[in-house]
Symmetry: C3
Subunit: 325 residues, 3 copies
């Protein structure tokens, strides 16, 4: 996602308008590769989004003067393997920013989800995605506090290393299931990064999630630790603990993670990403889930047939190329 | 919708190709806010398109030499509150322009609609949209001469202050309901702006609309007056008269409008828009419909439940932010 | 499809980043016109894609150093007559390129189809599209080795005038019908261009297509010849032979083609394209199919009613404007 800053210089040269008022950035990611998934049955296929989510977007920031800025960000998923796409449902927001922080309106990820992205060594993307262990039933993907529409967010201004935001989505009458409130606070200093977040979604079947996480970078290594509790009325709470590691060696990066859910189901993953440039890289990953009795946490993918049997295992391999622009 | 003129200077610098042959403009609007609507029941929600329609588009003009130009314009709606989008059905046209005027082919608004946009003090957008009074039944939104596909348009060249265009859409066999013809003529001089337009759409249930409108700008104020007749065989004709006002005070603009339909149903609206820059502003609006016996003209919105009872009222409040790029 | 090279100079001026790492090209085509089609019944309508497929796309190439490059290309169909669009299913690929050639992953046309595009004088677009004769039944368009998802392609590096590529799409479990393998080889030198391609798609009802083609350019003229065999188990093989001609006269280009399928059905077409600039042109075309007993090869279009009766004829006329950016 290298900024492209289209028109930036262009406009200022041609029309004399201040550059800061004219930037539109076109950006995107294409991530495609080959994957093997094995559960009850196995499949080999060309996949997208091995280590980063394929996307196309436009964004910009306008300096309003007096320390105030306005910004927009629209971003949609891109089926790099099949050409699907069309909506802007990864993010569609408009922001006012200033000394007071940022007020952001629209459709985007909620605080209770961004923390999981940040402290999973694999960024909740691809076969190693730690959120595969986050469902309550271990069968379907019911842990779905992810993105919401009609969201009002407030982000704290930069204060030392402290950051934070609160997000709220209105139920909008008949869509009470979409009612959501979430918040996150964090602290970054030197190599240390700590954060906590919580979120509630829905009305009658309210889903609650809470996460505490930390990471520490020293030298070429970063270690991650995260604890999440997911609850829904009438269902057993799922507590997930995960550890992760990223280790840089020149242009290469080794990654590993281990996670365990209530009942003992485990996800273990390892990966290697090699950067050919700032924008392009190749990668290989392997991941495996081992389920406790009755659970069917799988590595996802193209077909339900690759989900493990109850109490069974699933294994995945992935190699691919990522390119951002 | 500030022009971005991507590539304009860029190309001429890099490749030596004439700048006029290389412009592609990425443009758009995000308009999001909070709205309250009350009819039979009430709803509060995050809305899009409070004072301007959220969109994403690309356009450009090529100088062909000898006074001839070619141009394209593609523009699609953007769900700034929920990320929806994907098509280019606000406008998708290609044009040839010269001393003879402009021939434009594709999908766009028809003449009978653009006049209503231009002489509604609120631009037929948001809760104050005068076209809420334009339906024939006062229940559903049956006044739908708006955009058509397969359209051939001819625009007069600039002639003193006179402008005009005619649009025609073929029925294309089984889609005879889409057959449309529309025309508009206008005159602009000093602060005076006069225009008239008419349009016919459909075959068996042909809808006819005719509008006469004028505006006058003096000092910081502009006043608007418009008369429209909407007819369909077998239904009572709806004649709508509206008055509007826009008054600029520095970066702020006060707006007001009053409209009355056949039978006595009324729409009254007031708004304030404050520009933070040429591209960004904040706004607040209030609007109300009072219906005559049997009519249910409402302020629209997210849910049918906010429509008024027959002969009843509806009220709306809206605050938001608009950002164009 | 003139390259726009957005941001190219812009970025290097503003941020000092190497230009080659920053190019994003926005490109597209709008092609709209009026068409008449006559089969069993007739229709007149505004059409898109008379001589070139309307589209919107983004592409770029990144220099990775050491002779290695990465590139992306996303491109979607654009309904220039009705504003439809949204996906990127004309092409969505990411590539690594170097002295070894190019490895390309994603969704795109297969080799067995690109050869037909290249040696049809009308580029398999519009009423003169030679592939109208390519179906096996002469009724529906069952010859559909065109684009596939989940494709891995390898393109030979530039070697004298020899080029070639192989494409393979995985079946991905339940989608075995999508399993595809295709290859093409060619030679270009002076005015001579020779190519051969073959492709297999599907599992139980496997479709096989093989094409041999050549063209020769001398002075202002280019002549084309192509032979294709399309086979599917249980159906009669369709062998199609076509001849084409393109003749340039200043900014104008005359085109003609004649094709004959197994059984004797014929397609004959003539066209004239006049370039107003490198990016913009106007065109007129006429085409006709004459069917052998039982066949219904038609010129396509908006409605099935324009297909010919069994053994009958269809005729089409088209005029329009094309504009690329």
């Amino acid at each position: 996602m290298k900024k492209s800053m289209l028109a930036f210089a262009a406009l200022s040269l041609v029309s004399g308008i201040a550059a800061a008022q004219s930037s539109v950035t076109v950006f995107g990611v294409l991530d495609v590769g080959a994957r093997s998934l094995k559960g009850v049955s196995s499949i080999k296929y060309l996949h997208k989004d091995g280590v980063s989510s394929s996307r196309l977007g436009f964004r910009g920031v306008e300096d309003l003067g007096g320390g105030l800025k306005a910004g927009f960000h629209i971003e949609g998923a891109l089926g790099s393997d099949d050409g699907s796409g069309g909506t802007w449902q990864r993010r569609s927001t408009v922001s006012l920013m200033g000394g007071f922080g940022e007020v952001r309106l629209g459709h985007q990820k909620v605080a209770a989800r961004t923390i999981v992205d940040d402290f999973d060594a694999f960024g909740t993307t691809g076969i190693a995605d730690v959120s595969r262990l986050y469902t309550l039933t271990g069968t379907s993907r019911d842990w779905e506090i992810n993105r919401t529409s009609n969201q009002v967010s407030y982000f704290l201004p930069s204060m030392g290393g402290i950051y934070g935001n609160v997000d709220a989505s209105a139920g909008e009458g008949t869509n009470a299931a979409n009612k959501m409130i979430s918040g996150r606070i964090g602290f970054k200093s030197g190599g240390l990064h700590l954060s906590a977040a919580t979120g509630n979604q829905g009305v009658s079947a309210k889903l609650k999630t809470t996460t505490l996480a930390g990471s520490y970078a020293f030298g070429s290594a970063t270690v991650y630790a995260m604890h999440t509790q997911n609850k829904q009325a009438g269902m057993a709470t799922n507590k997930i603990n995960s550890l992760g590691l990223a280790y840089s060696m020149g242009a290469g990066k080794l990654q590993g993670s281990f996670a365990k859910a209530t009942g003992g189901s485990k996800l273990i993953a390892a990966g290697y990403d090699y950067s050919l440039s700032k924008r392009t890289g190749i990668y290989a990953q392997v991941a495996r889930t081992d389920n406790s009795a009755g659970k069917r946490f799988g590595l996802g993918g193209a077909s339900g047939a690759t989900a493990p049997a109850a109490g069974g295992d699933s294994t995945g391999y992935s190699v691919g190329v990522r390119h951002s622009f």
